[in-house]
Point group: C4
Chain length 240, copies 4
């Protein structure tokens, strides 16, 4: 099982100039970071279910009714669905960002690490919101929930701003219009989540509702340009 | 470590026409979605064991007997095995579907997201059934359990129907007979799980038994055509 | 990002005969099953730690000493280490088996599914043994622990026997001596674990000790032949 | 889907001499071990959040305030962040080490297994520290926490020392200066963590603070040379 790397290394010599090799190596480094991040996203999204409380028999009591108990804990399902869609949207947008980036540097890696920190943390505020949505602590739980989303939105913005400033880490033949569009989107993202955070002090219901809408919005906005990575194909192929 | 992509990009020019490149790019996008889904399947199937209750010493009491306690919680093992086989069958069928699909669009991605949502949710109804199978709440637990399976079956049907309608997202040289066979299978799947759901109001035992049978059936049905992806090899190779 | 598959498909035509293509396709199918299994192994091995009890402050009591409490729960660490080495050894041996296998069929897939079922189940008997090793239920816990290992050993034997019978699923140019050596090893494996199971009724300590030794033995035995997959390189390369 | 291996095998014949093939095969073996380790790192880092306690409503009491309860459990967040950065730093350094290594042998695999054992164990001391940092058991919890880090540091040192001794498992064209730099770093690593361990008997706060600083230090030190794997490109390319 001789790895494909060897083929690549041996064969491209007549085709590619040596100048491009460091670039492709860094592309490879990006791929590795993306694979690790993907694993973290997949695990975090699957761990969310552990936050849904399984009512124990002894807690239910003698005259307890399982059906109504399950219905009463609807905040658990709401929190689960909101965080599920959010992590899915983040995964999509993470891929979208990485499809434009062809090299890495230190600050980029720290921003990505910060982003993963908040994502692995997400099951905690999700479980907290599920536990307290119908109780006196609801505002605090909502604030922690929306606050984590604010932190994620800022980490995303930091990651993108660092990578895209003067096209620092971007590929050369990127569509400027799309870059500006993403920059715009990440400018409003943190503001919207800050609004959700503020709403948690007025109405936790509205706060969670806005978070859910934003997750759906970012999931939908992220997909289209997932495809646009095709722009990186050598230009003569695209011109066709 | 120069990635294989580069080789591919450079070398195929003389062999392939440029028209095919967007198609292959989308194929690549499909692979990425499949890899993320695979991760979610693998984690969900391994988390099921956390739903099996480890009887604590203090709960056992002084005269408690571990052996009989373990035997008495057989519903935990039954629920574990049923959900294990179901997720395995879903993984197999997910691959089977994806082996026919060569491009993606928005609704397809939403159907896949919905499917993953129900799959990551599965450990909850599994633990619920394990807790209540021998208790008054059994019918509710059985209905939630079978209901989740109904939802999964409909998500699978939606995913396939969207992809296969007029061959929308399918590869060009697909065997029509097999496509029709899958369509048939996904037409009856949701009906069978609806029957299991209805059975939960009559007898939870029959309900779970039917779910177990269906899981085994779909696991067995899924494997054979896993191979049939060979159909995608260029036709002159298949004709041989 | 044009996938390497395309290159492979286009370029090998002049080099390889078409007869080999179905074989290589099935090889690819094996790889996919192996990747899913690898994910399950990695998750199961990491979930083991959740079985180690974190003594809560309120359980410790006023005069409680954390140090002695942690030392007293040494069975948790023993069970953790034993199961960790066992899963690691199983991963190594799973790779070893798959390095000889070049095609799959239905019964092979069922054997592999059965093996994964027992592996994902392993955190449960591990936590059980940890909880009861120093308590009256120790023999039952030890029997469940060793019994799960017996089941895994039989699943491994079934997987290998099915694949190797008349060289059914093996590659063509396999070293017969090594095949016989593995067959021998898998013949004695279940017997050794049955002995550990029997020992659990005499002394749980000896039972767990034997399981630990067997795990180390299989981990050590598995590695060497991991390399021998090099045998599959075309013979003129090996003769060198 | 013919795997890229086949292409590699067929095509490199005119380019590479047969002597290199066993070497590249072993490189491939290294990749497989690295992939499994990566999975374990990703899961362990995501499981840490399960150690953060979600205060239950009934524990909060009637007059309980969620906000102050959440603030009071700041040791949970501190332990979470410290272990998160540590695992991230270990992942980075693991890649760094593996980027220099081109073959494996038995002791190397045992050292790697030992390292993974301590890493999967890490969620336990993390949860322990979170529970006891503000309670009488703090010193014991701090010692267990720092002690696990000492074990990890020694496992890393053992892995590297074994691989780099006389360049045993290293690639041929490695930059000696960098090898010496890593050797130096891994010589001081265990000493620093031993200092943190000793500090736990004086002040748990200082102990955890030092662990946090070391994690940040190793994360930062690890990244730069992640890139230096470019050194492995054939020398005529590097000279450019």
């Amino acid at each position: 099982m001789v790895s494909a790397d060897i083929v690549a290394r041996t064969q491209e010599l007549p085709h590619e100039n040596t100048m491009k090799i460091p670039a492709t190596f860094e592309r490879n480094e990006t791929v590795r970071i993306e694979a690790f991040s993907d694993g973290v996203f997949a695990i975090a999204i699957t761990l969310l279910v552990l936050g849904i409380n399984v009512p124990r028999i002894r807690e239910l009591g003698a005259g307890g009714n399982l059906g109504s108990t399950l219905i009463k804990q609807w905040p658990h399902y709401l929190a689960f669905v909101t965080s599920f869609i959010t992590i899915l949207a983040m995964w999509v947008n993470h891929h979208r960002i990485f499809s434009f980036i062809h090299s890495t540097d230190h600050p980029f890696l720290y921003w990505n690490g910060l982003l993963l920190l908040f994502i692995t943390f997400l099951p905690f505020p999700t479980a907290l919101l599920a536990e307290y949505l119908l109780h006196p602590g609801a505002r605090v739980a909502g604030a922690v929930f929306a606050g984590t989303y604010v932190a994620i939105a800022f980490a995303f913005k930091g990651l993108w701003d660092h990578a895209s400033k003067n096209g620092r880490l971007l590929a050369e033949n990127v569509d400027d219009r799309e870059i500006r569009q993403i920059t715009m989107q990440y400018r409003y993202g943190p503001l919207m989540y800050l609004a959700a955070f503020a709403l948690s002090f007025v109405s936790v219901g509205l706060c969670v509702g806005l978070c859910l809408c934003l997750a759906v919005f970012f999931a939908v906005k992220g997909w289209p340009t997932l495809r646009s990575a095709a722009l990186f194909l050598p230009s003569f192929q695209r011109k066709r």
